[in-house]
Symmetry: C2
Subunit: 237 residues, 2 copies
């Protein structure tokens, strides 16, 4: 396999690659802190919420519904049961607001995706999270018709990517994954023999942090998705 | 297209077709009633919970996480905010228990599915609900290796089935769907030109009720999944 083999499939992560996401969680989490400020310090609230989220990942998977349930659980725990029904209702509303937050496509995304589609690349979305929520976000973004497939997966491990490539009969060397998470979008795809492009977002959720830097002949880091069409073109065919 | 054209793909619904599901909701709902009995009558509690679920479907989609959030919302509403943190914690635990409930495969399912696989049919699961929850149920059921694909969809309308058939390049006349919901498993597949088999379950969720009976040359109703291999064999090829 040549490292300059032609790429014809490009998959893009959704949250914080196509549109803003993490900052919606950050904003809600700051309102959550305010609600619990009568009981605890900000640091302790953040720490306990994150611990609850991690503990519940095995029950809930990723997504806003699980996050809302984890906020409620943390609120009950940190208030030692003194949280009121009215405050719980506020948390439920915060979850629903997040689900209904307008999808704000990141700068340059629409142009880059249209250019890639016009250049003849087959495009898909590969994203974690709640199936229902992610599907409505693709629809609300207006980008849906540019993608041949939307794959919502419960995890982004090497085996999850392998299953998608098998489903669409795509050889790894023809596949490029683009995303903001080194852990979820880059490392598993490189391990599989595919190409990967990292486009960092302003905030990275603690759970997606990885320590090491990536050095690989099939890897690149770009500052903006606007650079993607030129980068892909430079790969040759 | 002959109505006796050979079927080679068989898709099965999961909840209440492969394993018990609705009775888990029913059991939790009766504990929910007990919790709110100090405030309201059983009938009113059921009615308000169902109304909350329906209202939230557009936010949450199907599944246990959304159901748990709807229970919490209903409890706050019906107690006029007097529900305690401790009682909310009980509801959260009920949700987690549901997610962890052992998967109880229905009688005859394992034998029927194995027989169909041995007869050379390509099998898949098509199910609504939370992606993460449904995937772990397939894994926990032990039936996973018998299925070529597991499709978790946010809705089961005609367009959703059409997308799956297109994805795997399956002509509708070669496709048979098996399930317990006339609304979700039968009518959309018949409309698409496929075959459908209804195997009723002991309980049908109100949301899945349809009024009319089905009469169609590509439709059958069976009492048990044990009858499925013989029925499929009788379709000829």
């Amino acid at each position: 396999m040549s490292s300059r083999q032609s790429v014809d499939w490009i998959a893009l992560d959704a949250d914080d690659t196509l549109w803003h996401n993490e900052r919606n969680f950050t904003a809600v989490q700051s309102r959550f802190r305010e609600l619990l400020r009568p009981y605890h310090s900000d640091e302790w609230i953040d720490e306990r919420l994150y611990a609850t989220e991690m503990r519940n990942l095995a029950h809930f998977g990723y997504g806003i519904k699980g996050f809302t349930l984890s906020m409620i659980e943390t609120a009950v725990e940190l208030s030692e049961g003194r949280i009121t029904g009215r405050e719980i209702a506020v948390l439920l509303d915060m979850g629903k607001e997040m689900l209904a937050t307008p999808v704000e496509v990141l700068p340059g995304v629409e142009e880059a995706v249209k250019e890639l589609a016009a250049d003849g690349y087959a495009l898909m979305v590969i994203t974690k999270g709640d199936l229902f929520d992610q599907e409505t976000k693709v629809a609300r973004s207006g980008l849906g018709p540019l993608f041949r497939h939307v794959e919502v997966v419960s995890e982004k491990r090497e085996a999850d990517y392998a299953r998608i490539l098998e489903r669409y009969n795509i050889a790894p060397e023809r596949f490029l994954m683009v995303g903001n998470s080194v852990k979820s979008d880059i490392l598993p795809v490189l391990a599989l023999g595919g190409r990967a492009v990292h486009i960092p977002y302003e905030i990275t959720w603690a759970h997606e942090h990885v320590a090491e830097d990536v050095r690989h002949e099939r890897f690149a880091r770009l500052d903006s998705i606007s650079e993607l069409p030129a980068y892909v073109g430079s790969l040759g065919g």
